[in-house]
């Protein structure tokens, strides 16, 4: 088969581009430690009673992040038609300069959990517990900082109402356990 010189060149460059893409992402995952949503969060039967018995959800008593150790915290969120609990109504509170792991699940239909304008983003699927870890930097002032959270998957009439907030609280105003 005759392949033109330019065809070969183009083919080679295309392959290079592709391998380059895969390379950078592999580096991101292995070298820089960018984490994906995976199956680490485990599963739970999609009903309120079983979700509330789950260890992570049982320990979530109010809207404040639960301290684990050092600067690590956990928040368990139930996404349901058409609110986040906690998050809608009163914001989820996390301290500044912390690593917070969110556990999110749904008792009804598929939802989304997206912290607007950041790459903290996961689907929320009934039966599955999504686990994402988010790093909150130190604040530049002593005012709390707010992030919007939206449901980005259609979940029924009323979906456009489904949103919440995360509030990053300065260390000296943090009332939760530390």
């Amino acid at each position: 088969m005759e392949i033109h010189r330019y065809e070969k060149l183009w083919f080679g460059l295309s392959l290079l581009l592709i391998v380059g893409f895969i390379g950078t992402i592999t580096y991101g995952a292995v070298g820089a430690g960018v984490q994906m949503v995976s199956d680490d969060g485990g599963t739970v039967e999609p009903s309120f009673s079983t979700i509330n018995e789950n260890e992570k959800f049982a320990q979530q008593e109010d809207n404040q992040a639960v301290h684990v150790e050092g600067n690590e915290y956990e928040v368990a969120v139930i996404a349901q038609r058409f609110s986040f609990q906690p998050g809608t109504g009163s914001p989820i509170q996390v301290p500044e300069d912390s690593r917070v792991t969110f556990y999110v699940t749904s008792p009804d239909v598929i939802h989304g959990f997206s912290v607007v304008g950041t790459n903290a983003n996961t689907m929320v699927i009934p039966g599955q517990i999504a686990e994402i870890t988010v790093e909150f930097d130190e604040l530049d002032s002593d005012e709390p900082k707010e992030y919007g959270v939206v449901c980005h998957e259609f979940c029924g009439a009323g979906h456009e109402e489904m949103a919440g907030q995360i509030q990053v609280v300065p260390e000296d105003q943090w009332e939760g356990d530390a």
Partner: protein
């Protein structure tokens, strides 16, 4: 050669009917599109309620990407098979049967979607506000799923019909190479059989029984994964007829011929092999699927860039060749020698240009870590309006100016009007597509009747949000105007105004490097299909097994029961057999 419509009147009837159905869907979808852009940007949101927005959106999605694209495909492929093999349909009744089934299926689903607008009377309770992705446990009326099933079975019979033509031809011409257009149709259909299996299983075994009340629950992640098993390759189903136009029609319009027949075949083989084992890239942010499986899907996806990059080369090279035949000179000067006055050529070129641009946002979507930034934002909507909404839709509309005379026997009404239409679509889509991408970066979600929230302030990285909204609405209006021009053109062409008989000869010039240069193995579609099957097994068996075993069983109702006891042995013995075959 005679004009197609006169040589094959029965087949031309089916082609015209299929195109007619496609354009009805396009008209309905376009009207919904206009309502959406004005509603969700807040420019005119009193026509429908927020709740009805999702009915509108379901109709838009289904009409555009399932009905418009696929009806056009079957019509165009029927022409390609009949014309390239030079033989009538083996049994025209079968041809009419599959067309009829597709119409019936569409009608069934359409009724349930339209029922969403009606709150009382005999249609109340008949609804399908589930969007075209119908993620369970959002539930539609059973007729919605049944309609989809009937529609898909119609396409399966169409594929069988085309294979039959090829088998019959082969018997009479045992020593000849498969004609290029037939090759493209058959490889595309094989890909389609593999891909549509996923959604067929989901619909027939889970969603229909569940919506009828036979099962109480479904495994949400399982049906979602089965949907995307189909949902990614379906984009190539939209794209393949367009690639056929770019390979076959564009070089001819440019005054030349296809650069390389073998390369075109390689491209279609690559699509057959790689299209399906990539669907998990739509689930990068799904819980319940391990990172490794996502990585595998990403690797396949990245390699799938290859056939499109090769296409870019071949198509541009063929066009340049055509321009030089017409007297074009210089590094870039040849561009002025192209037939820009032909709406078919100009439209397809603009569509190709936009596809190249959209390719870049696609590469971003494909990267599994950067995908987190854009997943389910308007960015994605911008991306696919430039791909399926322009590369495919604009190419289809443009090619129709060339294609219509073949199947009706009469020239189109006016090339000026055609040019105005394709240019307007291009302008409208640059505005809408680009602004959607940027709004997505600021975090504006897709699929919502109203993206303003008390709790959220968008930080427009590039341009204020108000401005982006305005651009989206303006673009949407220009696109709708372009559609009006398109339909006006169709109507005017079908009246007697300016009636001229379609020109002859009606033929496609032979490629520069012909099929004799292509190794025989390329035509061994059995081999390529087997490789595709193996790749699919590798990428899908394990994730599906873990979704079923860990995620509550086949129906999502058996948490704590060890489903592993009956599923895992089946999986491991499949793998044993597979390893045995390979070793």
């Amino acid at each position: 050669m005679e004009v197609f419509a006169n040589e094959y009147p029965d087949e031309a009837w089916v082609v015209r009917a299929a195109l007619g159905s496609a354009f009805v869907a396009l008209a309905i979808g376009g009207l919904m599109g206009l309502i959406q852009t004005l509603h969700r940007t807040g420019f005119y949101d009193s026509l429908i309620s927020n709740a009805d927005y999702y009915t509108v959106l379901t109709l838009h999605g289904v009409a555009m990407v399932l009905l418009f694209t696929i009806f056009f495909l079957v019509g165009f492929f029927q022409w390609a098979i009949t014309d390239s093999l030079g033989r009538k349909s083996e049994d025209i009744r079968i041809t009419k049967l599959w067309y009829g089934m597709m119409v019936l299926g569409s009608a069934m689903s359409a009724v349930t979607i339209l029922g969403g607008f009606v709150d009382s009377g005999s249609l109340s309770g008949v609804e399908a506000d589930v969007l075209y992705t119908f993620y369970a446990p959002l539930e539609a009326h059973p007729l919605y799923y049944m309609g989809l099933a009937v529609f898909i079975i119609g396409t399966w019979i169409a594929g069988f019909d085309w294979f039959r033509s090829w088998w019959a031809w082969k018997k009479e011409n045992p020593d000849e190479r498969m004609p290029l257009r037939t090759f493209m149709v058959l490889t595309t259909m094989l890909m389609w059989y593999l891909a549509s299996l996923g959604v067929a299983i989901s619909v027939v075994f889970f969603l229909i029984p569940w919506s009828l009340g036979i099962f109480d629950s479904v495994n949400s992640l399982l049906t979602r994964t089965l949907f995307w098993f189909f949902g990614h390759p379906v984009v190539y189903f939209w794209l393949m007829p367009v690639y056929m136009m770019w390979y076959v029609i564009m070089p001819k319009l440019a005054g030349g011929r296809l650069f390389s027949d073998p390369l075109a075949r390689i491209v279609f083989v690559l699509f057959l092999v790689l299209s399906v084992p990539t669907g998990i890239h739509h689930q990068y942010v799904d819980p319940g699927i391990a990172e490794g499986f996502k990585f595998l899907a990403m690797t396949n996806t990245m390699f799938l860039l290859l056939p499109s990059l090769l296409t870019a080369f071949t198509v541009v090279a063929s066009i340049e060749h055509g321009a030089r035949q017409r007297g074009g000179e210089g590094y870039f000067g040849w561009l002025t020698a192209l037939p820009w006055g032909k709406p078919a050529f100009t439209g397809m070129t603009l569509a190709g240009l936009m596809f190249a641009a959209a390719g870049f946002s696609g590469m971003i979507n494909a990267g599994m870590s950067i995908n987190y930034l854009v997943h389910n934002t308007l960015w994605v909507v911008g991306h696919f309006h430039m791909t399926v909404g322009t590369a495919v839709a604009l190419s289809i509309m443009a090619a129709t100016y060339w294609f219509l005379p073949k199947i009706t026997g009469r020239e189109i009404f006016s090339r000026r009007l055609g040019l105005a239409q394709v240019l307007l679509w291009f302008i409208g889509m640059v505005l809408m597509g680009n602004a959607m991408h940027r709004a997505g970066l600021a975090g504006v979600p897709r699929r919502t009747a109203d993206p303003t929230y008390d709790q959220v302030i968008y930080d427009g990285a590039y341009g204020a949000i108000g401005e982006l909204r305005f651009q989206i609405a303006l673009g949407g209006v220009l696109l709708s105007l372009s559609l009006v021009l398109f339909f006006a053109h169709l109507v005017l062409s079908s009246f007697d105004i300016g009636e001229r008989a379609a020109a002859t000869p009606d033929s496609i010039p032979a490629p520069l490097s012909g099929p004799e240069q292509a190794p025989k193995v390329l035509d061994n579609i059995r081999l390529w299909t087997s490789i595709a099957v193996v790749l699919i097994l590798i990428t899908y068996i394990l994730p599906l097994a873990s979704i079923v075993t860990d995620g509550g069983g086949w129906l999502g109702d058996s948490y704590g029961v060890i489903v592993a006891e009956y599923v895992l042995p089946a999986v491991s013995s499949t793998i044993d057999i597979f390893v045995g075959v390979v070793a």
